[in-house]
């Protein structure tokens, strides 16, 4: 599994990165987490608001910072 966090470096983007790390640890799964900060690359995912959570190339949510449990659920699904 591959988790990407899209965001140009705003406070919320950092918050989502931390939430994702915590959720991954809690889920007990193994995955690679990346931050994508290049705006052109972010745009290629088709989002219009950041931060966004991408799992295996698929956008799962954007524009808000979810709770750890919500991300655990998405990872485990």
């Amino acid at each position: 599994m591959k988790i990407d966090i899209l965001g140009t470096g705003c406070a919320k983007c950092k918050a989502l990165f931390e939430v994702a790390k915590e959720a991954l640890a809690k889920s007990g799964k193994f995955a690679e987490i990346n931050k994508i900060e290049d705006i052109v690359e972010i745009m290629s995912y088709g989002v219009t608001s950041t931060p966004a959570l991408v799992i295996d190339g698929e956008v799962k949510m954007s524009g808000r910072v979810p709770s750890v449990d919500e991300v655990v659920e998405i990872i485990s699904a």
Partner: protein
Amino acid sequence: MFDWWEKIVDGLVYGAWGLDPKSALGGAIHFFIYDTIKIFILLLGIIFLVSFLRSYFNTEKVRRYLQGKSEFTGNILAALFGIITPFCSCSAIPLFLGFMQARIPIGITFSFLISAPLNNEIAIAMLFGLFGWKIAAIYIGFGLLVAILGGYSIGKIKGVEKYVLIPITPLKGELKDMMTKQPFKQKIKEAWAYTVDIFKKIYLYVMIGVGVGALIHGYIPTELVSKYAGGDAWYAVPIAVLMGVPMYSNAAGVMPLVEVLSEKGMLLGSALSFMMAVTALSLPEAMILKKILHMRLIVTFFGIVTFGILLVGYIFNFIFGGN
């Protein structure tokens, strides 16, 4: 709507504490307690309602609705979406580029970008609490008008696309909704968490704003205020706008002052212009957009919005000027 609360504060300040309603101290303390709690109730209520409704919208959805809409209709829809859609200036770039990807005309994108911060839930809640629903509605109405016409005018500038500094390849085909669905309970929980979050950030500013307002209310004579902040002098509106620009982050603390100033003779148009300048002319947003837009377009954007706000101020001062 808050008569019950006024009676309680009357009983407390003038009854139990025995302060004289006509004295400056009594007036100021009554004003502070009454206004602070009233605004707190409205802030919590309105922010919760808006953030709950919001969970049904996101900017990706807005983009889908706006795709392929004709100009003007698109400007109107974009401005309306700006009321309800979550938006923070940190998302200005992906929003702007994302709309371009969907081949939405720049003018329509600007209508959204003007409307979203102007019609934010904190400003609306504060206006509702301080001035009543009529002024809040007038503010929203004229805010929409500025957004629609401002965006439309920007869209009419020849070759406006070349001021966007980042090359954008349009997305192919139809856009699809890609978000995961949230259960109702989760939406409520999250809306409440968000509300508490925002409240924690602004309650102190509200108290300071109302506190200073209470002092002005109790101790500073009306003549003094109307001599400097009020009146129908031609420069009252531009000065109000200029003063509003640097106050972006403190809208919640500034608005109680405007209430007191208008109560003491500042004209409604000047007050409206001031509040619109506080919310719509955001320097942080301009700095962020500078990364992808040519300075000339940003200046034009600010210029057109400023012009619209000034116009609203003058129209109101002219109609309701009184003297």
